[in-house]
Symmetry: C2
Subunit: 315 residues, 2 copies
């Protein structure tokens, strides 16, 4: 693919999500030229590889954009260094380990006239926009999130998810919350939560949330990370006018039992290509996109939730 007119970008953190999603999305885009990678252990074939971020920033002043794919705890320092060095920044979800640091980064980006994009990849799943459109003029009766997966399959050996700041089951659960906050036309807030902490871990492995809706709709979410059978990432939604099932993490949609086809306008297949297209557009417009609402719901659950200790978990 011709990359002459493409934006040069560096990928920081070459782990599972970078290899599975970011690198293919960038390779298949005419808008982007993956020019460098920074990782202590991994290399990306055919591009400039660095082990140190500061060295990359100094050596490659021609690269105007960085995409940060490391775990949330170290992310702030890298984002700050990048903004200080005049680079646009794209953040994997969640955009940080704390809400306060995300607000601070947003202020920094504004001050420097740079683009900061706090991405929520699940919002770009194929049918999320259609679900949102359907709900825009309906009266919501109920919304039930069922997010059940096997942490051993999706985060094999990734101890950081159970360390403070790793968020535990909210690492996948925040994807559901990012869809929820995207498709609902009115803001909601947490009413009750129960978080299950394995006795040997600092973050929850399961959570049950109930929300308050302005019109009294029943809204709940069940997040489970010990689910070995059929992996489920689904919304069951009831309205005054019909019911929706948004399934497979937002990729499939049934309205009143009828499977919806992909919209004809859906030229970009997949979440990460759309994220990178959004990033190119934000830079072109001189804008940022930093919506912290999914992360606020997580912080609310940690603040308001009851804690229940459950048996130890080991990978």
């Amino acid at each position: 693919m011709a990359k002459n007119m493409a934006l040069k970008i560096a990928l920081i953190g070459v782990g599972k999500i970078a290899i599975d999603q970011h690198i293919p999305a960038l390779a298949n885009s005419a808008q982007w030229d993956l020019s460098a990678a920074v990782s202590r252990n991994e290399k990306v074939d055919g591009i400039d590889n660095f082990t140190d971020f500061k060295t990359m920033l100094d050596a490659r002043s021609d690269i105007s954009v960085v995409s940060l794919c490391m775990p949330p705890v170290p992310r702030f320092e890298y984002a700050k260094m990048a903004l200080d060095a005049g680079r646009h920044v794209m953040l994997e979800k969640p955009p940080g380990a704390t809400l306060s640091e995300v607000y601070a980064l947003h202020d920094m980006a504004k001050e420097k006239g740079l683009t900061l994009y706090a991405t929520w990849h699940s919002r770009e799943a194929a049918q999320v926009a259609n679900a949102k459109k359907y709900l825009a003029d309906k009266k919501l009766k109920s919304l039930k999130i069922i997010w059940k997966e096997d942490v051993r399959r999706w985060h094999p050996g990734q101890e950081w998810v159970f360390e403070p700041g790793g968020m535990g089951v909210f690492d996948p659960g925040i994807n559901a919350l990012s869809i929820m906050t995207e498709i609902l036309p009115t803001p909601i807030h947490l009413k009750n939560a129960v978080l299950q902490f394995p006795e040997n871990r600092q973050t929850p492995i399961a959570a049950y949330l109930e929300f308050t809706h302005p019109d009294g709709a029943d809204i709940s979410a069940e997040f489970e990370w010990r689910h070995e059978d059929l992996q489920t990432w689904a919304f069951e939604i009831g309205t005054n006018d019909g019911s929706l099932i948004l399934n497979e993490g937002g990729a499939k949609l049934q309205i009143n039992g009828v499977e919806q086809s992909q919209p004809a306008s859906d030229a970009l297949a997949g979440e990460y290509p759309r994220l990178y297209a959004n990033m190119a557009q934000l830079i072109a417009n001189g804008e940022s996109d930093v919506d912290t609402s999914p992360m606020r719901h997580v912080a609310d659950a940690f603040t308001l939730g009851s804690r229940k200790v459950v048996p130890a978990f080991n990978f």
Copy 2:
């Protein structure tokens, strides 16, 4: 005091803080006329008393302002009813049980052109403004918060502080964080936290926090709710140019060991009279004041903090 030109206000929740602070502050202000109270169990002498909020709103359409003093969990429903009924709303700290509900209330108030004031009473302590002024042009080296009190003395038998959403030691700790966010010229964010949960309780009884500062200053906070001796609410602050001790919850200030006198302009004595003066000004200006930054630091501590189980606590 002549109350002819005063704004009529209703107080909702006649508990310890209302009796100790709100009622005297309103009684001594020429700007305010405490016209009604709502409480299931308590009555305020000489004014209209209600046991039901909706009944008060319907009966007293002449009262344009309500001040909510109940615990954080039920506060949202009352605030929403008040805004829906076209009343300006003043909220005790913390402004809600979740961040999301505070954002939702702020949006509602904006939409309806009403004033919402999320108060932080400790910011109105006598020397907070002077500390802020001193720090505005200094380079911060260190800031240490020591907030040690006896929960049995200050919240006798108030079980809600240990129930989910009651925030535990962050109930007083958020006062320190409200001062911290007021006096520091740059935003900071949590780096590490350890929260001590009594084995029979859902909220922490002690917490230790460390923050990241953009210039690398050492910032920490120690919150302790089992402290029976000298009650301590202090900031020890070091700068490139001198040191501060902000003590007694912000009421006293030493700069380089010299006790600062009260500013001559400090006509209003005490925190709550200033809060109510601020509220009158906000209404006059058609503005709201909803700064969630102290609460964000609390939510960040719950999200990022390590949990340590400590012996049971009973009143």
